[in-house]
């Protein structure tokens, strides 16, 4: 009797058809599929079960492998990207090679996308037939083990990146935190208070920023960007481009005497941190609590860069410290890490795009982020809520969903705007006693203490008008509207159109993916949703993982979210990176290519085509050789080899031919 555990003997195949409750069984005739499979050549057992992935389902396979000496398994269920590891594990536990498995996707590719039961069943039969023919050719394979570098790269120094970096660093692993702005802090550093508890953003954020700056396990790279990423899980080589600050960071102590001494006595350039609401000098500290506390020079503004004729009072002021270096150049350094956490955040919707709200036309139309700066004690007005002409507004209109829930711009709900609008309404009412009108589509306040906060605002006398605002105009039709901005909106609860004259309009702009999210995604080899948010591996069960092993995502780069959610995700991503590092080694899929040396003609065609330079030419034998550590298993060289002398594990020519012919075979 042939040994079933010897792959050279004739295959004895077990076929397992999953009902997936009614997900599959509702559209595919699973009984007829099971009976059909039983009659296919080399099939020894064919069974159906309600949930193959469950423990009893897997046990069914293991029992049959033992009882019927099965040596090949076909599971017709969901996508292999979902449960292939599950069933490979079942095979391995039953003592046969995990790669003697072929999955047939009869859920995502059949039952969920077709309605006609006969057609769906026919398609399922074709797919099962192909798998049965293919699986007979599967060879035993072993996963490769590679060591993991415990260092972690965190990209983005907003609250998500900060929290992830601190969590990983506290576990004793080394973290490289790369931030492209001259300071960490991100959007949260711009806020005055956080909803719904109204705790001061700076009070809870700046201690964490300082902790990052002084943590022995964190290397902080500000004013830096990731330029290139190479390698694979556990062994990434990352190039970091360090932009010149024209300040030697190690020597600068953040005293700002140079800023005082600058030949410009007043600021003349838009202050990025205050969103242009104030001015800064050519040499400046991004904001008082910036981490690191290092100034930088804007070469676009500095006279020395333009004319080389500046008196350089800054150098004089710096004196013995000699921290200013006008010759500083961009540097690129390479770091090695085992895993990467992307926390690159979001940008706010450009309010100019909704021209009918008059942003950029009427000076008293602000974005919510600008108002965050106005209400902030460290902001351009020292926390005074005043218009551009210095007057205090008596009436304020807050327009929700600008660039959210809008077919013309972004369809998604930005999730945070209702709550931050309520927060701003509260702060404005509290500080200056103005009448505040909120114009909303729906109030969305799910979250701990959020609905209660909304209730509180109702009690505080803030007005709510349900209806999308049609336009903001400065054309009065009544004396009471003179010199005011008039918000025109349909009040859908009262059932008529209202004109509400106000002094200040606040646009609650939505959240969007970063402008260069797609470039970042390419660099790290992950996917984006259609909108540009980074795509998680599974929306529910792998929310911070990506399809690239060792690359995790956290915070608003994955989708709009508030601070608590960003922090929670950052913690989850940190845990994933730490788990990976603590495992010490990782198993890589064995889909690599190898050269059949006897057949190789030494033409070197494959050498040029490999994107990973994994193929080298052995001069002595005049043959090509694949370095399996570098090979990522795309198989392009296999299709390219003119003599057919390269094979790819699990995707061998013969296996694919067999699958194609199986699909088309006349039943």
């Amino acid at each position: 009797m042939p040994d079933a555990r010897n792959p050279d003997t004739a295959p004895r195949i077990g076929v397992y058809v999953c009902h997936c409750g009614t997900n599959i069984a509702g559209t595919v005739d699973v009984h007829s599929l099971t009976e059909y499979a039983a009659k296919l050549p080399n099939v020894a057992v064919s069974r159906e079960y309600k949930y193959m992935c469950s423990d009893p389902g897997q046990e069914l396979i293991r029992q049959d492998i033992r009882d019927h000496n099965l040596n090949r398994i076909v599971v017709a269920s969901c996508s292999p990207l979902m449960h292939e590891p599950t069933f490979r594990g079942a095979l391995a536990r039953a003592g046969i090679n995990a790669f003697f498995l072929q999955m047939v996707n009869i859920r995502e590719h059949v039952s969920w996308v077709h309605t006609n039961k006969a057609d769906a069943t026919t398609k399922a039969k074709d797919l099962v037939r192909a798998a049965v023919r293919r699986v007979g050719l599967h060879k035993p394979l072993e996963k490769r083990r590679v060591e993991i570098n415990p260092n972690v790269l965190v990209v983005g120094g907003g609250i998500a990146g900060i929290h992830a970096a601190l969590t990983v660093a506290n576990s004793g692993k080394h973290v490289h935190l790369v931030e492209r702005q001259p300071t960490i802090g991100g959007h949260m550093a711009l806020f005055d208070k956080t909803f719904p508890t109204l705790d001061c953003a700076a009070c809870i954020l700046t201690p964490k920023m300082t902790a990052v700056g002084s943590h022995p396990n964190i290397t902080l790279w500000t004013y830096a960007e990731v330029a290139a990423v190479k390698g694979y899980v556990g062994n990434y080589k990352v190039k970091v481009r360090h932009k010149p600050r024209y300040i030697i960071e190690d020597l600068c102590i953040g005293c700002q005497e140079c800023v005082e001494a600058c030949v410009y006595k007043e600021g003349r350039w838009a202050d990025e941190f205050n969103l242009g609401l104030s001015k800064r000098k050519p040499i400046y500290l991004p904001f008082p609590q910036a981490v690191p506390q290092k100034v930088l020079i804007d070469p676009e503004a500095c006279i020395e860069f333009k004319s080389h004729k500046c008196k350089k009072t800054c150098i004089e002021a710096c004196g013995e410290r000699k921290a200013i270096d006008f010759q500083q150049k961009e540097t690129i350094e390479e770091i090695e890490v085992g895993s990467i956490i992307l926390a690159t955040g979001f940008k706010t919707f450009d309010a100019h795009r909704n021209a009918y709200y008059g942003y950029g036309v009427h000076p008293n139309v602000y974005t919510a982020l600008e108002v965050e700066r106005l209400v902030n004690a460290s902001g351009p007005t020292g926390g005074e809520i005043v218009l551009r002409n210095g007057a205090k507004p008596k009436m304020v209109g807050i327009i929700h969903c600008v660039g959210s829930r809008d077919q013309n711009t972004n369809r998604w709900c930005s999730k945070v705007c209702c709550m931050y609008s309520l927060k701003l309404a509260h702060l404005i009412r509290e500080r200056i006693g103005a009448e505040v009108y909120n114009f909303y589509i729906d109030m969305r306040t799910p979250g701990k203490g959020y609905e209660e906060f909304y209730d509180r605002l109702l009690d505080e006398g803030v007005h709510f008008v349900r209806g999308r605002v049609a336009e903001v105009t400065d054309w009065p039709i009544h004396p009471s509207e003179e010199g005011k901005l008039i918000i025109r909106a349909e009040d859908t609860l009262a059932g008529f159109v209202r004109r509400i004259p106000v002094d200040m309009v606040v646009l609650s702009t939505g959240l969007e993916p970063q402008a260069d999210a797609r470039d970042v995604r390419r660099m790290f080899n992950i996917s984006c949703s259609e909108e540009g948010w980074f795509l998680e591996r599974h929306p529910k069960l792998a929310p911070v993982s990506t399809f690239t092993d060792g690359v995790f995502i956290a915070g608003a780069c994955q989708g709009p979210k508030d601070i608590p959610d960003s922090v929670a995700q950052a913690g989850a991503a940190a845990a994933e990176a730490m788990a990976l590092a603590d495992a010490k080694y990782v198993e890589l899929e064995p889909y690599t290519a190898h050269v059949l040396e006897d057949a190789c003609s030494g033409c070197k065609t494959c050498l040029t085509i490999c994107p990973y330079t994994a193929i080298s030419f052995i001069e002595e034998s005049k043959k090509a050789r694949v370095n399996e550590v570098l090979c990522k298993g795309c198989g392009t060289c296999v299709a390219t080899c003119p003599t057919g002398s390269i094979e790819q594990n699990l995707f061998e020519d013969q296996e694919i031919f067999e699958e194609v012919e199986g699909l088309l075979a006349y039943a």
């Binding site: 996508s79 292999p80 990207l81 996707n105 859920r107 995502e108 590719h109 059949v110 969920w112 996308v113 077709h114 309605t115 006609n116 006969a118 057609d119 769906a120 026919t122 398609k123 074709d126 797919l127 192909a130 390419r522 080899n525 996917s527 984006c528 949703s529 259609e530 795509l535 399809f547 690239t548 889909y591 065609t605 085509i609 994107p611 990522k632 298993g633 795309c634 198989g635 392009t636 296999v638 299709a639 390219t640 003119p642 057919g644 790819q648 995707f651 020519d653 694919i656 031919f657 699958e659 194609v660 012919e661 699909l663 088309l664 075979a665 006349y666 039943a667």
Partner: protein, 169 residues
């Protein structure tokens, strides 16, 4: 439209027009995922495509396509990542180069242009799977079954496969 026409070899009666049979070669990272997304989004499309999963569209040997035609496929659909988005950097460009050459060969074999299609469908484009497949099925229905005797086809394609093997690099 109810699918009354059955697939050749699966019991279609004479006089009925057989439904086109399409073999899809989808890359794991983009188009296969897009087809999975179409599934989880419950997007409905024509049941004529049978998908073979490969790691990268760069893995698709022109012989796979010829093999599919030789074995009775009425169409072949290749799905890969958008240019510049390849999970393996540039496998899809290699796929495209081979496909261009292959198109000329297919033309000489008398296989109509619409029967062989290369589409870039990203992991986020579940609905594009529906659009492409339905469109291809419509075009193949209009063309009718591939007019190649199975036996003859194998004879005529075999030397071409051999020739392609030598030039397709």
């Amino acid at each position: 439209m109810p699918n009354t026409r059955s697939i050749p070899g699966n019991g279609h009666r004479s006089g009925e027009v057989p439904e086109p049979r399409i073999v899809g070669f989808f890359c794991t990272w983009c188009t296969y995922l897009a087809a999975d997304l179409a599934g989880t989004s419950r997007i409905k499309y024509a049941p004529n495509v049978r998908v073979v999963r490969v790691m990268c569209s760069g893995r698709i040997d022109p012989q796979f396509v010829l093999d599919a035609f030789a074995n009775g496929a009425d169409g072949v659909l290749i799905g890969g990542c958008h240019p510049g988005d390849c999970h393996y950097q540039e496998g899809n460009y290699n796929c495209l180069r081979r496909a261009r050459l292959l198109k000329q060969v297919l033309e000489q074999l008398g296989i109509e242009e619409d029967r062989f299609r290369v589409e870039w469908i990203s992991a986020a484009e579940g609905d594009r799977v529906r659009v492409v497949i339905n469109d291809m099925v419509e075009k193949l229905r209009a063309l009718g079954p591939l007019q190649m005797q199975r036996e003859n086809a194998l004879v005529s394609i075999a030397p071409v496969e051999q020739a392609l093997q030598e030039v397709c690099v």
